[in-house]
Amino acid sequence: MTSAAHKRSRRERLAYLPYLIPGLILFTAVIGVPFVMNLYTSFTEWEGVDSIAGFWPGGDWVGLANYRELAGDGEFWASFRHNALVVVAMAIAPTAMGLVLAALLTDLIDRHFGPRAAGFLRACVYLPQVLPIVIAGVVWSWLLNPDTGAVNEVLRAAGLDSLARDWLGEPGTALWAVMAVMVWVQLGFPLVVFMSGLQRVEPSLYEAAEIDGANWWRRFRHVTVPQIRPEIFVVLLWTTIASLKVFAPIYVLTKGGPGGATNVPSYYSYQNFFDKTEVGYGSAITTVLTLIIVALTVVFLRLQGRAGQEPEGER
């Protein structure tokens, strides 16, 4: 590459900078400054009320004390174990299922039964995303009730009494029951994103594959998946971030119980921010959580870049 071309392409790139300015300004005001304030607060002991100099929040400087306390908080770190399973329930399973569903709806239902059928099915799967999570929690705890719940009734009616469980009350089943509900909540999100991505795919690609005698699975692997790879990365990262921050869906179902069997890290920051009003300690927890998530994001974006969707440098 000549240096003149290099210079031109640099100028070319700078010309796009103005498009970023409104976004960056708003970001700084709403996220950047609060992030720094939160970081500062994490080095203080503060109850969230008085403010230093009438503006900058934060209490008595305690240095790294909050972080030291956090490092020794065994329960907090143990709760990350549950998070690993939550990632499966909120990210991996829905993404995989959503991918297959999206392909079936686009490639099979839409073509054989028309777009209305596909649209109807998509709407049904998406609907749980719309229900307020508080209500979803109440309804699922009715359905999972050990005595009167529909789940156990169905099992008993089918003669499977031995499978009936106290789903949310036994430490062995509570997390699995919560995970099942999360798949229910989450599935619509990947489905809708993937189906919109599949709109870009040329039908001729499928036709060519079909003529070549490729069966559905081969078409799925060699046409569908490569075509919407950007969406797959985005959905996977997004749901993973969400599952690392998750709080409400678990709390409305089990309140972290039985006996802490379903606690997640966000529970500790909520508790410290709002129940104990130990805002300094809560800030330390969220800072650590954020750093972990950001590190993961960077790794993920690198992988995505290497997978060819974000080509580095000039081509």
């Binding site: 009730n145 009350g169 039985p258 006996g259």
Partner: protein, 427 residues
């Protein structure tokens, strides 16, 4: 394409319109002719009924003054009270939870008005039983039972046993009057294949059993040590150990269902009110609902043989530091303390703090109030187990769930509770 563009223009117009609308929003401007009042009781609850009557009376005795009442969600007030009260949007008078971790904390942070002078001037301290007053007065550290009034309770609450008379008759079980009879009655029900007590392990019900059983072996000094830090509380002492061990035993014997570990109080209450359990040990906050919705014959009794039982003054009227119309706020509180409003509260199924006993006509409500007054006069209110430190409730729930599931021995569970208690004590 044109159609799509028109749609986009419509959306853009919507967005700008809303921005303009939003910019006009915001409140907090003070108005001397307006009393801003917040509470979080349902309109058909005893408090809701009595207080809406009080609002009408306030407006008729204060011509020209308007009450701007807003019903709030409990959670919104719990989560955001320190922030709201520290802004110019604070109301003039509001309902707030009593206890060290709630009203006590706000008082320590200087967000509530010390109304001791007003209390003395208007004679509220004479109306309210001294043992009910404890939750209204806080010391400099925000511990209840202190010297300064930061709130005034309008009602009271305590725990009792609700029982299904039909089920007792059908299974020919005698209604218990002593603890021994209670155990006999529960044995009789278990023999008939009926679980005697409804329970909710995911919420307050389960640990309140543990607390009541511990109280059976305790005294006032023990309660004050635990609740008011008058001396060091030992949560692994014989009383607590008895409470935790007995409750574990009850689960084993089937007095409470083992599969209630994951249930919420609502589930447990509905199961009792649906006639599935003969007894429910819970608070007077259920009274109005049981009276209204239950189809079988029912009644209540105080925990058999109890000298101490969970209970306290109710939520408080507090006057935020930033209240702009404090005088009006006190006038309003004064009206809610008047005999006829208090009587209305009692007749609607609440426990008034300053009612005229003769004016309460409904027999079950009368009994509810009389039982409370006896307890209060004998200094028998023991507050609630989750009060002493912030976020204690979650700890109790978790540890009692472990007890029920056999994941922890009473000593282990109580040891964990002790740790949380010691961590949370005021420094």
């Amino acid at each position: 394409m044109i159609k799509a563009r028109r749609g986009a223009a419509l959306l853009a117009a919507l967005a700008t319109g809303s921005l303009v609308l939003a910019a006009c929003g915001g409140g907090g401007e003070s108005n001397p002719d307006e009393l801003r009042l917040w509470h979080y009781e349902a309109p058909n609850s005893a408090m809701g009924v009595a207080w809406s009557q009080a609002i009408k009376e306030f407006e008729s005795t204060h011509p020209g003054v308007k009450v701007k009442f807003e019903e709030k969600g409990f959670e919104q007030i719990q989560k955001t009270a320190p922030m709201v009260l520290n802004s110019k949007d604070a109301p003039d008078v509001m309902e707030y939870n009593k206890g060290n971790a709630t009203a006590g904390m706000l008082s320590r942070q200087g967000l509530l008005t010390d109304m001791s002078d007003e209390v003395a001037k208007r004679g509220w301290d004479k109306l309210i039983n001294p043992s009910v007053q404890v939750t209204s007065k806080y010391d400099a550290k925000g511990t209840m039972g202190g010297g300064k009034w930061f709130g005034v309770p309008n009602y009271a609450e305590y725990m009792q046993v609700y029982y299904n008379k039909d089920l007792f008759e059908r299974h020919r079980v005698k209604v218990p009057a002593t603890y021994a009879e209670l155990v006999e009655a529960m044995d009789a029900f278990v023999k008939k294949g009926v679980t005697p007590l409804t329970n909710a392990g995911a919420e307050y019900m389960a640990h309140q059993f543990v607390y009541q059983l511990a109280l059976d072996k305790a005294d006032r000094t023990w309660v004050d040590a635990f609740q008011r830090y008058t001396s060091k509380a030992n949560l692994t002492d014989p009383a607590w150990t008895y409470g935790a061990a007995t409750f574990t035993d009850w689960v084993k014997k089937g007095y409470v269902a083992k599969n209630s570990v994951g249930l919420k109080a609502e589930d447990a209450g509905v199961a009792f009110m649906g006639g599935k359990f003969p007894m429910m040990f819970s608070g007077s906050w259920w009274f109005g609902r049981v009276a209204k919705e239950v189809k079988f014959d029912w009644d209540t009794f105080v925990w058999p043989g109890a000298k101490l039982t969970p209970g306290s003054g109710g939520n408080l009227w507090v006057v935020p530091k930033g209240s702009k119309n404090k005088k009006l706020a006190y006038d309003f509180i004064d009206i809610t303390m008047k005999k006829h409003i208090q009587n209305a509260l009692g007749n609607a199924g609440g426990i008034p703090v300053a009612a005229d006993a003769a004016a309460i006509t409904e027999p079950k409500a009368k009994k509810l109030i009389e039982n409370f007054n006896t307890l209060a006069q004998n200094n028998g209110l023991a507050y609630y187990p989750d009060w002493p430190v912030a976020a204690f409730y979650d700890k109790w729930v978790a540890e009692v769930q472990k007890l029920m599931n056999g994941q922890a021995t009473p000593a282990q569970a109580l040891g964990e509770v002790q740790k949380a208690y010691d961590d949370g004590l005021p420094k």
